[in-house]
């Protein structure tokens, strides 16, 4: 199974070309569109989301992830085997949280190149075909290499994603909080609740969300609007 994670959006024709590139090489490939709305300028946020989402893929998943502002430059193309899953994409930090938390890591620079490779769309021309090869059990030409590991903190109070309901996901996991933790945004205290129905309509609370991140939500309301905060803002721990 090949999972796709990109900043290509569902509005343009880039995702369709990824699918086409995979199915062209492997008509029986199963594709899952994991996420296509990563912020193209925030690799750290994308890396955090990808690390959490990867936990919910098959244990032998092939994950093709492309958030790649340096495409066409000198960043290396990577394929990494991490605890059974293959990761394919640019060496710009996108896989660093997964690599950190993995027990076994085999990282390789991809040397294989297609007959024709565009300068700006390595997702279609390089990464998707490599994913298709891996799914067929073929090993593209590659050599062991190190992975770029940016100096990003393991836990971060920054809001890394706002979903379409207005829920706000932070870079914090359950390691940093317990049920008594009180968070704060815009000078407003935010207490824990386990689920939406446990607070009054319109009330803001935090919970551990379905992918293991600390999330600020509101019952039957838009937490982002209620608080006046959004992606990039910092959530604080109340003294």
């Amino acid at each position: 199974m090949i999972y796709l994670f990109t900043d290509f959006s569902s509005q343009d024709f880039y995702v369709g070309q990824l699918h086409s590139a995979v199915l062209h090489r492997n008509p029986d490939a199963r594709l899952v569109d994991l996420f296509h709305h990563a912020d193209p300028r925030d690799i750290e946020a994308a890396a955090r989301l990808l690390a959490r989402l990867s936990e919910y893929t098959a244990s032998d998943a092939i994950i093709v992830a492309v958030v790649d502002p340096g495409v066409g430059g000198s960043r290396r193309p990577l394929m990494i085997k991490a605890d059974g899953r293959w990761l394919v994409g640019p060496d710009n930090g996108l896989f660093s949280f997964i690599v950190r938390q993995a027990e076994s890591v085999d990282s390789r620079e991809i040397n294989w190149r297609p007959a024709n490779m565009s300068v700006t769309f390595h997702g279609r021309d390089l990464f998707a075909p490599v994913g298709a090869m891996l799914e067929r059990g073929e090993m593209p030409d590659s050599t062991p290499c190190e992975v770029v590991m940016p100096d990003w903190p393991k836990e971060s109070g920054r809001i890394i994603y706002r979903d379409h309901y207005g829920n706000l996901m932070t870079g914090l996991t359950e390691r940093s909080v317990d049920e008594n933790t009180v968070l704060a945004a815009n000078s407003q205290p935010i207490r824990h609740a386990e689920r939406f129905g446990a607070v009054n309509a319109g009330d803001v609370f935090w919970m551990i969300n379905s992918i293991g991140l600390v999330e600020i939500a509101a019952n039957q309301a838009d937490a982002s609007a209620c608080l006046g905060v959004s992606v990039g803002d910092e959530i604080l721990f109340q003294a």
Copy 2:
């Protein structure tokens, strides 16, 4: 074939997790993304759309439908066999129009639970796996139960959906109108036409749309903008 109908949107990563959950259990499952932009706070509108769209699925379809503001609360998880199709989702009225119009109905509360179930994402953890089991011919543990049947009128002049062209769908079907019916919105009369080309460019008209609902449209224009009305507004019958 498993059809998905949700309020998860195509922008977030929730739909990808549904696909992943189904394919994890049944790699050969065929999935159709029927609709992912239901209004999360308007179960009645979602129920009307679902009832119409279900008519255009395979006669042995499995429809997993999740518009579920009460997730984590006490509403029951349902699986309903209605005229050959399986419906899987929350017991909050979402299936009530289908149940009303079905000739044979076998409704069951789902007792099966996964090893790990999040509090807020039963679509991924409960409903999608049940859909996958049903497609493989397995019967999840369940017991007969009643279905919540809200007191919603069979026919309603309320606008329940605005598509991206600006067409406005109502909760009326052909049972309520004939070709001489004149509707009204914002004090403007709206007459019947069979198709776009039958009126002048910019003119507003009503028709029976491709899923059997009374729809207000405009030739080469945005009916919603022309009339100054949108979802939630009432369409009247002109005296």
Copy 3:
């Protein structure tokens, strides 16, 4: 493989009904959502994009393309075999650039009709089933006919698409430019660069993009916002 190209958007339920219509007739069909955000009122732009995107489909692709403001009127339904690929859709110019550049063209009016055909959704009721039949090797009833060939220039400086990054695609291909060509928009000169990293952050440039069109882009920025131009505006050749 059946590729879909439409103006149906990913927000409404029209694409799901296309998938459903294909899989209903051919459960093993492979579907690729090539593009669903064509401008419904700009057939010329859609025709230019389709011609470029078709180059990146399988050599025996079946492309169902529906940008069809005249649905329900007298425009003919077409199936065209062009250099090995089947094209299925309305006879309104949408396929004219592909036909012009093809070496072998067999164009046919579709006479086959389904038992039930809505007036407004021939994508679901006519074109998708025809695509499914062609993929199964069946020939729908049809008769040879001419294709509408609008008087659109082969090359055009008009901006035909703005992607979600803010990149601007024109109707020019590499035939019209070389590396020394200087373009202009809003009195600002635009020079060639091969890739994003070759210019400073925030700088605007033009390149041949990944589907062979002249594209105005900006390094780590939104070219459309930088220049104050968007779809429909003309890019000039600087004297």
